[in-house]
């Protein structure tokens, strides 16, 4: 059965800290991996990764995929209270349209 596992489940840091969120997967026919930020209800798109070793970057957020070891990381540098949210990782497999989500990492950034 296809599986996506995120760690840690929750994390509390102080403003200015750097955090690394992990997403590992076991799926058949991997196509892409996506990261979403969910603050209240609507998850908002962060990154889509399809190729190994190519870092995607947006401001203080960056992400990279390792297709050999079957994982991705999401880094957030110089965290701010506005980064407090649930970060969701999802995998899409070939021949299907559904996203397989992990349970998410709940990040809380303290001022």
């Amino acid at each position: 059965e296809d599986k996506v596992v995120q760690s840690p489940l929750s994390l509390v840091v102080h403003e200015g800290d750097t955090v690394t969120l992990n997403c590992s997967y076991e799926v058949t026919n991997f196509r892409s991996l996506l990261w979403y930020k969910q603050e209240k209800k609507a998850p908002t798109f962060l990154f889509m990764l399809t190729s190994s070793g190519i870092e995607k970057k947006s401001g203080r957020l960056s992400s990279i995929l390792d297709k050999k070891e079957l994982f991705s990381i999401l880094n957030i540098t110089a965290t701010q209270t506005g980064d407090s949210a649930i970060y969701l990782c999802a995998v899409v497999t070939s021949g299907t349209y559904k996203y397989i989500f992990g349970t998410g990492t709940r990040l809380k950034v303290l001022a």
Partner: protein
């Protein structure tokens, strides 16, 4: 450019009742997917609609059904509600361009009592 719109935002129903949730996709998107997100869990795929047909379905019972209209909007219907159906129901739209992933709506919070 309007995003994904869902209605209602909150809903309280009694066990055994039926409910209909609605979704209007982002402008330019023609595909609508529905997800169920229980508290503390990631979203679970219910089904996807494209060209008014159910294109793929997740592991949900037949009590969950849907529809897509010619204007690409969609409905999710749940019959014979159970307490376990209490969740946030998310609608996500997408188009032919694959690079941006889904755009999610803010969801409908369904509480079954």
């Amino acid at each position: 450019d309007a995003g994904v719109t869902q209605s209602p935002t909150h809903l309280i129903k009694t066990r055994g009742q039926q409910v209909t949730l609605r979704c209007s996709p982002k402008s330019g998107h023609d595909t609508v997917s529905w997800y169920q997100q229980a508290l503390g869990q990631g979203p679970q795929f219910i089904f996807q609609y494209y060209e008014e047909e159910e294109r793929q379905r997740g592991n949900f019972p037949d009590r969950f059904s849907g529809h897509q209209f010619p204007n690409y909007s969609s409905e999710l219907n749940v019959n014979a509600l159970l307490l376990g159906d209490s969740a946030l129901y998310l609608c996500a739209s997408s188009g032919t361009r694959q690079g941006d992933g889904y755009t999610f709506g803010s969801g409908t919070r369904l509480t079954v009592v």
